[in-house]
Subunit: 344 residues, 4 copies
């Protein structure tokens, strides 16, 4: 059986990454790709890497067509999925939403950060947060997946063993993250021209980023109580890759950090704990659905430093979404996701 | 049946690319990876992208071990393969050499450009030049393949339809090429530090590059006579990718260039002729075994301009080598080579 | 005496470069910077490198204010200067136009390539083409300077000695150029996002670029007759820098090319002929008002290859404009332009 | 009077930056540039940006020659200056050392981190730490300056107002830094090839970096007691620029952070406090001797986040060294250092 897939809003980079990955998936076939702006245009015209492997054209979104698929991915800006998802769910289609629409359970909090009313608040509670390392069982049964954001994936994976083990002071955790520019999307803008951000580096949103409430919710779920987090994102002059450097104070200095991390992720197909003393590079996950993690304890003191890399478009978005699809449909979780990162 | 593969000299970038591509090949298995300098070290320590997909360690080169494989790839500097290949061929192993050792039939010419005596001159005539678009039948029967250089692949593919059709003046052809820095290899050097070549661009070897005699030989084979070529390579501040801009004067102005190119490559799985008016980007072939080509006739005049892109490590080296292997062993030519380029 | 300067349209990169260079000019002072879109905003908000050295705010264009200055630079898109320049000239102000408005003497040709009627055709004949190496005397007396385009500067400087000496076949000259992305300007667009053009390389406008008629006119002026040129520009994934590789056939093979170039530019303050065998790098002119040139004769044959680098914003635009100003006002031609390139 | 300058070890990037900056200094003249490896070679051959502005050749180090200068800069690896400096000081020459040799007052600590005996321990106490914002008066009288490291400059400037005001908890301060690759120097190595570090990002030395004891000493001097610091450096795929993100907990939540920073640096010519809400970019200081700083208080909580950018070669090394020279010789502190950053 081949899973019939539709992608809504595939003109952006997460949509393109879904297409790239699904073009090599042995048990899924993309049937519909919608875009209001590009309807009628061959997909491969926009993404020349897909010439020869994707013969589809963008089409106008059409509920009937989408309902004929087994699963619909939304690779849309926030606010779009919530308007269409209810009808699809009602027709029995499964939905994997890569946007922020269903990530935050507290609807009022969502409305505050995204500055608009939520169009489908009743569905929020039914959405399963698509982080397989935390929620695999629930993902298996889900009708609606809210895929984690790229930064939140890296922060949660890096803190998971520490929070589950209860060995850090949860009142003061710092996540210093840096992302490639694909994280900013594919809209015409001066701010992300090559001439504005190449050969440079800066922080942004130091006073508050929309991924903060999502991360706080996820960490609280894991820790069983609130986690005091400071999160500062930075912009890297590269296309792909997130690097997150996490800082926390050990409440239990006797813990063997290396063993703790290796044990926690031993059975995870897409989390790789590096040997002690390592420093993961973003290039080592370029295009691959894997997070690589190293844990340090500088000078043997009480501070734990966790280094996490992922490709923001892959494990941070589209790869993880396909991982969820594989789980939902009972496939090998690695199907279509086994390719090695492109290095150099 | 799974083809048993050995790779000699896999610490460089073409070796790493062989490993990356072969790790996803359905009918080949890498059994031996040799490196004198890194013997004993896990391959994935050098190439962290292969963690989880390659469990091998580098080993000392051992003829017995190599002879136990079906095919041996040489990803070594020039001068290495010619010393070892004769013994392997004598034992019935097939050899695919990615270096320059067997590319040039005129041994004296080789010795002049490479400034050393050739260690196996008797074998040179038996080597088949591994450009499938020209030599597919001979590759099928070959024991020893001399893989084309990265620049020569791009120049020959771009001129192939024009030379076969006899529609250009062969006395004055210009190949203006630019390559990513992986073309310079993975040796410690000041000249290729990020701090020396990033954010910059330059020509090099304008007075004569070692790929020139190889290109001239290949073009002469295709044209059935000498082709007067000027070749100037340039260094791009990127990792992967070759872009070649070819200039020639039409001797037959009535030719339909677009049709000529489309027809010539219609059945080629790894050459993509873009629609009229296009400009191929190196990113569109990043990590993919494909050359994309566009043909222009500025202002409708007598000058033809051909634009060719390839990934120097893939269609320009390791991907093409695997394509040859597929042909030699009667596999689907696309086996292990079907993945789309990584974009963005 | 300090020269009072106004800049019209200083929100783009050539405007920013004028500000950067003039902030260190010992005998010029920027008094007015206009921008309709940014009127009222401090210049240093847009260009944080100027914090502390430029206290001005953008203002609405005002003829009275502009007329109070000694010289007005136009750093505007084509079509803007031609509407305002006549009034300024009538009031005795000198004008240096960095746009294409007054570069082409054949008004009909201009209108064809720029697809709009020219608003001040009568002035075109009075404009002096601001290439000091060719037109120094005329620049000294000029009221209106048409600054050369970035590509045309590199092509003309590289061919100047050859055309003046009459030692090449002028029927078939090739200019293969590559430019950093600042050449595309500072407008919001998808096509020049970092995520679209970094880590990649491509040709563009292979069938015809707007700089072509300007180059053809300039070369014909130098050669005393038409020059058959093929010009293909390419886009580099860097901010600044143009590299042009020129190809021509020698009609006089006895010429000493190195001496020819060194002699021609011996007294030029901003053209540097490199030693024989050199390959200029774009980084060697980053931010500096200099063109560096090397000349090659591959394998001693009849083809001459000239390599030219310049910073497209400096010698290719704003630096050259200031060089013209220095000449017009009888200053040391190097005033404000003596800083070394930023390397690495 | 013109100050006669010698530079020892000018083949590296801090040496090249000294040459670039001093070539535009109105009151200093470089007389001697030494390099054992490059003796006899024109400096401009190694650094083509200096063609036309530096006619010197590298020479063998010669004490007599050095002693004929007013000031000697050491741009050498650690361990070199300490062997030569005593003799120069004895002859009355002033010395500005850009290496780590005299930065750490605790000689045993130096020997531990640098893993070698110190050759001039008696001089360590006489060296003045060359951070003008802290030590201007002592610099004025100094014979021997120990220039701060690049990371330490950014960390100390960013924490200076907070520590002087006593408004943060000094037991737990985090410095998350990222540096361009020029920080790794100009030695042949695989690890810093473009092909190894471009298009990627990673932390390094997370368990302990040699700049740590220097930073701890500097912070303790400012705070009047030990400061508990966690310092994690990262490697950016760019040439120049350091970005440091500092995290601390406020002990006095009533403090007006923006006013505190603006007041502290109001009279500093080379520290620029950005308006509230800003995020400094490394490109805004490219090639300029300035640090730009922004201070944030996320969600109005108790955490203070300070963002600092500098050019590691300029304010982080050679520019600051010249700033010290200006102070030592009673010149305008801005002499030769006033140029704006190169942007874009």
């Amino acid at each position: 059986m081949t899973i019939k897939v539709a992608i809504v809003g595939a003109t952006g980079y997460t949509g393109a990454e879904l297409l790239r990955l699904l073009s090599g998936h042995p048990e899924a076939s993309v049937e519909v790709i919608t875009s209001r702006g590009e309807a009628g245009r061959p997909v491969a015209e926009l993404y020349p890497n897909l010439r020869g492997s994707c013969e589809l054209r963008f089409s106008e979104p059409d509920e009937q067509q989408l309902a004929g698929c087994d699963v619909v991915f939304f690779a849309t800006p926030h606010g779009v999925a919530q308007a269409t998802v209810p009808a699809l769910l009602a027709r029995g289609v499964r939905v994997i939403d890569l946007s922020a629409d269903f990530r935050i359970r507290d609807v009022a909090l969502w409305e505050q950060w995204y500055n608009q009313p939520h169009a489908a608040p009743a569905l929020v509670a039914d959405a399963v947060y698509g982080l397989p390392e935390v929620n695999r069982a629930a993902i298996r049964e889900a009708q609606l997946i809210a895929c984690p954001g790229c930064y939140p994936t890296s922060v949660q994976l890096g803190l998971l063993p520490l929070l589950e083990a209860g060995c850090i002071d949860t009142r003061d955790v710092i996540a210093n993250s840096a992302s490639g520019a694909t994280g900013a999307g594919r809209q015409a803008s001066v701010a992300t021209l090559l001439t504005e951000i190449s050969d440079s580096f800066k922080a942004y949103a130091a006073s508050g980023h929309r991924h903060l409430p999502e991360i706080e919710q996820g960490l609280a779920d894991i820790a069983g109580g609130p986690v005091g987090l400071t999160f500062v994102p930075h912009l890297l002059p590269i296309n792909r890759g997130i690097h997150t450097t996490l800082y926390a104070n050990l409440s239990d200095p006797s813990v063997d950090l290396q063993a703790l991390f290796e044990d926690r992720f031993a059975d995870e197909p897409f989390v790789d704990v590096l040997p002690a003393g390592s420093h993961p590079e973003t290039r080592s996950v370029r295009g691959a659905n894997v997070a690589r993690i190293a844990v340090h304890r500088p000078q043997g003191g009480n501070k734990v430093v966790v280094l996490v890399v992922e490709d923001n478009l892959t494990k941070g978005a589209s790869g993880q979404a396909i991982q969820c699809m594989n789980i939902m449909f009972g496939l090998d979780e690695r199907a279509g996701l086994a390719a090695s990162a492109l290095l150099p």
